[in-house]
Symmetry: C2
Subunit: 232 residues, 2 copies
DNA sequence: TCTCTTATTTGCGCGAGCGCAAAGACAACC
DNA sequence: GGTTGTCTTTGCGCTCGCGCAAATAAGAGA
């Protein structure tokens, strides 16, 4: 892979590769397959045998988990520099979630055997992977606690702030969420409903805290949202 | 440590030690400190600097996480053969949960440096640790999905079945949950309230599915509970 | 055995937020 | 530029399950 310099920023920032040498990085990247995917592509389905793990270079993935009767839980968004399905390789069986491309995305994939060999020959990579998994576990614990201790509107506020921090882009209007994010998505992420999210966002828009359109949200006053999320 | 044979069953079953040689095991155990704790002991508090990780030999731990205003989330019970706070060592900062002894417990502890060295010298141990963390992550994802897609009574049914599978003991009456488990504990585990749990258990008792007393539950008809949890 | 503490039950009322339904807005695609 | 499909808004009613309060039960300890 000779165009590594093209996305070297992404790689440098990727927590999974922190502390690795130049030489190790190029070796690791040479073992993977790079591809571009249009929006809507399903990279893998929940339940499929886990064969490959992925690093997002550009674009974004949405990871979801299905429940009976069509209810869907939005596990998380995967921004550039983060890996998806690293876990599945270890667990060794099936993908526990479905991964869908939401912006046109460039992605590198490594199949299981390749990644296992890389992990064996680069111990630092294993440690990084462990740390990443643990961070996910802790975030999920926080979200679980919120879901059980806070009201719907507070959870929506926290979700919006979290997504904003991860994927916000400053504009003259405020901080724009940088990808298509529907009311339904937010509901699936927070454990509420489309209706509750819509009502809540409308009320915040009246307060002047946010501005929103179809699948598009701009946070104007993050501080007000933070106070709202924290207040009793 | 010369009394390893005393709890060799527990060790053999401990998924964290699967695939390790006799010699490796005794080396690992020789590096740890064994202790016994009375019920109620707090092994560590959420927020304390993470210094030690633990393996439960006998007895049981309860891991909880606090939210503002005293609300408490019961993360999980740690039965014999499982480790607690292995994660905290990697994350490297503070314990994310509080660990309380609920039955008189024998526990081995390893401090961070010791465990880190053991991980470096026993690669299989690292792989096992990774698998354990991933299993936790997946279980938490399942519970999160339940919390957001199912009603309170279904979640209580699933929780009871899960705890029964992990800590049930056959008696002539039915399958007894083998430790003090209060209505409040179940509420904290399922994201409901003391009152809802009490009403639900009462109704199941009338149906003859369970028998219960103060901090004590016997599952008489697991199949009925399973059908109840699965039904729409 | 009596007392004290803590867990549990149950009646009652209420409110958050779900979810249907129908209308309105927006984007995309011929 | 009209048409179509999808996303969003909002009114309305209703249900689940929360949470107070007060009584009861079950252990723990003296």
């Amino acid at each position: 892979m000779n165009d590594r310099h093209l996305y070297s920023d992404t790689i440098t920032q990727a927590d999974i590769f922190s502390g690795l040498e130049e030489g190790e990085l190029s070796h690791i990247f040479a073992r993977g397959y790079k591809n571009a995917y249009p929006p809507g592509t399903i990279l893998f389905h929940e339940g499929d045998p886990a064969a490959t793990c992925y690093l997002v270079l550009t674009g974004r993935l949405k990871l979801t988990k299905l429940h009976e009767e069509g209810k869907e839980f939005l596990v998380r968004y995967v921004p550039p520099g983060q890996v998806a399905a690293a876990i599945a390789l270890f667990a060794g069986k099936n993908y526990p979630v479905t991964a869908q491309v939401i912006d046109r995305a460039e992605i590198i994939g490594w199949d299981r055997n390749t990644m296992m060999n890389l992990l064996l020959s680069h111990p630092q990579l294993t440690v990084n992977m462990m740390r990443v998994v643990i961070e996910r576990l802790e975030e999920l614990q926080r979200r679980h606690l919120e879901l059980h201790a806070e009201r719907a509107e507070q959870r929506i506020a926290r979700a919006l702030l979290r997504i904003m921090n991860q994927s916000g882009r400053k504009t003259e209007e405020g901080i724009l969420i940088d990808f298509r994010l529907s009311r339904q998505d937010l509901a699936n992420y927070t454990g509420t409903t489309l209706y509750t999210v819509s009502r809540t966002l409308s009320s915040w828009e009246k307060q002047g805290w946010i501005a929103s359109g179809r699948e598009r949200i701009v946070v104007i006053d993050p501080h007000a949202l933070m106070l709202f999320a924290e207040r009793d």
